[in-house]
């Protein structure tokens, strides 16, 4: 046992102090950006800077303290990165509020509080991620119900052509954002059990191991589900996202690239069919190919976004100095365009790299995680974020056709923010499990001080 420990080479350190330091930097970004917006637009620091900064600091520090107590070995980078992005998003929304006379930033701060509360709740209540495996089919069923909810009469709402909203009395929500977390858990639970059956049988055609026909069942079902979302909810982004998650998790579980070939071709077929069959997909593609052809119509958002980013250039106009309000729905879909104008290429690259860090940390967690379920959940959640960021920022910057997805942690939108905070809580929980020393060895190693903690948390 000692041997295997030395074979592993090192015991992960907790690094909570590093996390605190990074969090203070993140707070400086968030509160500094808020002050800069006030200075840029009105020429003075916003009067509520103390209350706002205090609340933001309270939320961040509380989550740090909770991590310190309930997930001491968790990855130290994730929380600060998320705090920085969330703070930057709040400042960008506040900046648009000042221009448009709206009050999205206040609501977003409330949603952030809810998100942090759920983040804390997840860490406190879920002491071992493997418990989730028991709820595989419950999660799957819940996800499908959530996805179907917008289709129901009375509570379903169509906004901007996509039927992805439900109206629950005073608050509206996008159930798809919550469904994506549940789906990752359900996929992981299903694949852990069935991965051998999926992986072992198959035949080799043209250097590629193709799975058996009967094993294609789940992937075909998923394909049909994502097509159904595309057809009935007109939601390109979500259907792409769900299919992508399933495909990558299938690949991770089975280690069979053949699935990627099959899935990739199915996606291509689906995308082609979607393009041929639906005018709303064609409109998106046309607006992507030449936004300026119909600048005052379908190309307006993307066109204004491109103008804004070009206007920002290398260093940006400075917060409060540009005209990001020219972009329709800048606070939700196009927050990246708004940031690109005022923070410039430099700021936008920083934002993209922050997202890259989250994904990298998530995948690293998956790598070091010791159980298959945890690996699948962590890689699934990391890929969710990677795909979502790629689809949104790629769409806003005219790399790929625009699809309606929110930018994690930056965009205005409660469901998305809350769901993403829970994703981070899950990643922290898994990384805490993955990085903490193996309990049996703790007595023999220098990490003896933590032995009691680890034994308390150790289940079974």
């Amino acid at each position: 046992m000692t041997q295997s420990n030395s074979f592993l080479g090192f015991v992960h350190r907790r690094r909570r102090g590093a996390e605190l330091f990074l969090l203070i930097l993140a707070l400086a970004v968030g509160i500094g950006a808020y002050a800069a917006v006030g200075l840029g637009v009105d020429g003075e620091v916003p009067t509520n800077i103390i209350g706002y900064g205090g609340w933001l600091a309270l939320l961040t520090i509380t989550s740090h303290v909770v991590v310190r107590f309930f997930a001491p070995y968790a990855d130290p980078v994730l929380l600060p990165v998320v705090a920085a992005l969330n703070g930057l998003g709040l400042a960008a929304i506040y900046r648009l509020d000042l221009a448009d006379g709206t009050s999205f930033a206040q609501k977003q701060l409330v949603w952030m509080s809810v998100g942090v509360a759920l983040f804390i709740g997840t860490l406190v209540l879920l002491r071992d991620h493997r418990i989730l495996q028991r709820f595989t089919y419950t999660c799957g069923l819940a996800a499908i119900v959530l996805l179907l909810m917008p289709m129901m009469p009375l509570i379903g709402v169509t906004k901007n052509g996509a039927r992805i909203w439900i109206n629950l009395g005073p608050v509206g929500m996008q159930p798809g954002e919550v469904a994506k977390v549940l789906l990752v858990i359900a996929f992981a639970g299903y694949l852990v059990v069935h991965r051998d059956a999926l992986a072992l049988a198959g035949r080799r055609i043209l250097f590629v191991d193709l799975p058996r026909g009967r094993d294609l069942g789940p992937i075909l079902a998923m394909w049909l589900l994502s097509l159904a979302i595309l057809v009935f909810q007109r939601d390109l982004g979500s259907s792409l996202l769900f299919f992508g998650i399933f495909l990558t998790m299938l690949y991770v579980a089975t280690e069979r690239p053949g699935w990627l070939v099959v899935g990739g071709s199915l996606f291509a077929v689906g995308a082609l069919l979607g393009w041929r069959a639906f005018s709303h997909v064609q409109v998106r593609v046309d607006a992507w190919l030449d936004p300026f052809d119909d600048f005052y119509g379908s190309g307006n958002q993307i066109g204004e976004s491109l103008f804004g980013m070009a206007w920002g250039g290398m260093l940006g106009r400075g917060l409060g100095q540009g005209s990001p309000f020219r972009i329709p729905f800048a606070e939700s879909d196009f927050i990246v365009g708004a940031l690109g104008e005022e923070l410039g290429l430099t700021g936008l690259m920083a934002v993209i790299v922050l997202y890259g860090l989250i994904v990298e940390r998530g995948l690293r967690t998956a790598l070091v995680c010791r159980d298959a379920f945890g690996k699948l959940v962590a890689s699934g959640l990391a890929v969710v974020l990677a795909l979502q960021v790629f689809v949104v920022i790629g769409g806003v910057t005219k790399l790929i056709p625009l699809t309606g997805l929110t930018t994690p942690f930056l965009s205005y939108g409660g469901s998305s923010l809350v769901a993403n905070w829970v994703i981070i809580a899950l990643l922290l929980r898994i990384s805490d499990q993955a990085r903490r020393p193996v309990p049996d060895l703790s007595a023999d190693t220098e990490a003896s001080s933590s032995s009691e903690d680890t034994q308390v948390v150790s289940l079974r």
């Binding site: 066109g303 980013m309 990677a386």
Partner: protein, 490 residues
């Protein structure tokens, strides 16, 4: 399961690299295209920033006729025009939607984006000051411009609502000393920050049948009539067969070749058979110039007209100079008609001023220009215009003969109104018929020279509130030309 996760990491890395590459493309490589209002007129950010910027002044002498003054509304600066009606067609206007005139052709300098202002931009960047535009100094002579303006706008002889233009050129450089077009407009109204009002004014101006936005000096081409006889005479003398005293066909009427149409001289003394060329010029003898044009033929006539600048444009400091035309594919009767500036010969006022300037400048036509100096925001001279030869229209001998005849015309011919005591003045009148139903056009071209200082002037009256019988180049347009010449040489 670690191998697929590693593969996945590479895949995610590629996704993020693609995003980083693409934002670099949009915000760095493609940004200058998107920020070019010419390529993307929809880009309101650029338009608003340009509209709000402190532009450089347009100067006449040391007086700013257009300048940006601080404004306390949505935009930081307001463009103001000091003498709106007098300079409207030179400065043009700077509106939210577009620019005309000098505001357009010198936009780079005025807005500060011109390469010659690179150093000044750099200094502004270092000092964290907002970039300022350079100023542009015009060649305009303030007194001459005022004289021309009074002649068209405050002339009791002509009344109100005159449609016409005056151009004065310095013959040995090509400097435009005066350019006025009537009716005019107020560019202040178009530069207003009240965009709704600008829309209304703009629509009213473009719908106005009198076309106040048109710079008639360079955009209105009309039959030049008798002033074109200078070109015919030039072509004739250039053959070597004639000088100012040479005998040419005169008589009281001329029948166009292969027709029965007969044209007379309106009772002016053109002899009975042969008369000296100078007499034909002094009395504007149609019979002589019809015969000369017929004798020279259309090719020689066209070559001479083109040598003076017809069928091409020369002015680049103002946008959209209209080509003056000498037509092609003429029959003999039509060729003869061109000899007195009729048929399809059409000239802008600036073109006729160039003809006179060429004659005064020993036959060499200089390229006309309006922008004299480009100054940095600190008024350092960045660039000074160099006079450039456009063409050698006639030999200096021919030019001397033509000058002699123009002087005679002013001394004792139809253009006596232009005489200035003690100054060499040459002139030629013209009254052209546009069509049967419409009014006549009055032309007057002249030059004055004393002590090495010269000026060539062309006056064109397209429409005045007088009957056709009262419209004559000498009586109506001559006094205006004389005032402008006096303003220059005094």
């Amino acid at each position: 399961m670690n191998k697929p996760i590693r593969t996945l990491s590479i895949f995610c890395l590629l996704l993020f690299l693609a995003l980083l590459g693409n934002v670099t493309y949009v915000q760095y490589f493609k940004a200058s295209d998107y920020n070019d209002a010419a390529q993307f007129p929809e880009n309101r950010r650029v338009v608003e920033a340009a509209f709000s910027r402190e532009r450089g002044a347009i100067l006449v002498g040391r007086t700013p006729i257009a300048e940006s003054v601080p404004s306390d509304d949505k935009y930081e600066f307001q463009r103001q025009y000091a003498e709106p009606l007098m300079y409207a067609h030179l400065t043009g206007y700077f509106s939210f939607y577009n620019q005309t005139g000098i505001e357009r052709t010198q936009n780079g300098v005025l807005s500060g984006e011109d390469d010659r202002l690179f150093v000044s931009r750099l200094v502004d960047l270092v000092n964290n000051a907002s970039p300022k535009g350079g100023s542009v100094k015009l060649t305009i002579d303030e007194d001459a411009q005022q004289a021309a303006y009074r002649g068209l706008f405050e002339n009791p002889q002509l009344g109100d609502n005159v449609q016409g233009a005056v151009v004065a050129i310095e013959p040995d450089t090509g400097k435009i000393l005066a350019m006025v077009s009537s009716p005019s407009f107020d560019p202040n109204e178009l530069a207003s920050h009240d965009l709704g009002a600008v829309d209304k004014v703009s629509k009213a101006l473009s719908d106005d049948p009198e076309r106040p936005l048109e710079n008639r000096a360079i955009r209105r081409d009309l039959p030049p009539g008798s002033v074109f006889k200078l070109v015919t005479a030039a072509a004739a003398i250039e053959t070597g067969n004639y000088d100012s005293e040479a005998l040419v066909p005169g008589g009281s009427s001329y029948t166009l070749p292969h027709t029965t149409t007969s044209i007379g001289n309106g009772g002016r003394n053109c002899g009975s058979d042969k008369i000296p060329l100078t007499q034909a010029m002094e009395n504007s003898c149609n019979t002589t110039f019809l015969a000369l044009a017929n004798e020279l033929g259309q090719d020689k006539m066209r070559a001479q007209a083109e040598a003076f600048g017809f069928n091409s444009t020369a002015l680049t400091d103002l946008p959209n100079q209209l080509k003056s035309t000498y037509p092609t594919d003429l029959d003999d009767a039509q060729t003869a008609m061109t000899g007195m500036g009729q048929f399809e010969v059409r000239s802008t006022p600036i073109q006729m001023a160039m003809v006179v300037a060429g004659i005064v400048n020993n036959g060499v036509v200089m390229k006309p220009y309006v922008v004299d100096e480009v100054n940095s925001p600190d008024l350092d001279v960045l660039d000074k215009a160099e006079p450039r030869e456009l063409s050698e229209a006639v030999s200096s001998d021919t030019a001397r003969e033509l000058r002699k005849m123009m002087v005679n015309t002013a001394e004792r011919g139809t253009a006596k109104v232009a005489r200035i005591p003690g100054v060499e003045v040459g002139a030629k009148t013209g009254t052209a018929e546009g069509c049967d139903a419409c009014n006549n056009y009055a032309w007057f071209v002249s030059y004055a020279t004393i002590d090495g200082r010269s000026v060539a002037v062309a006056v064109m009256l397209e429409k005045v509130n007088l009957s056709n019988s009262q419209i004559a180049g000498g009586a109506l347009a001559g006094p205006i030309a004389k005032d402008v010449m006096e303003a220059v040489i005094d």
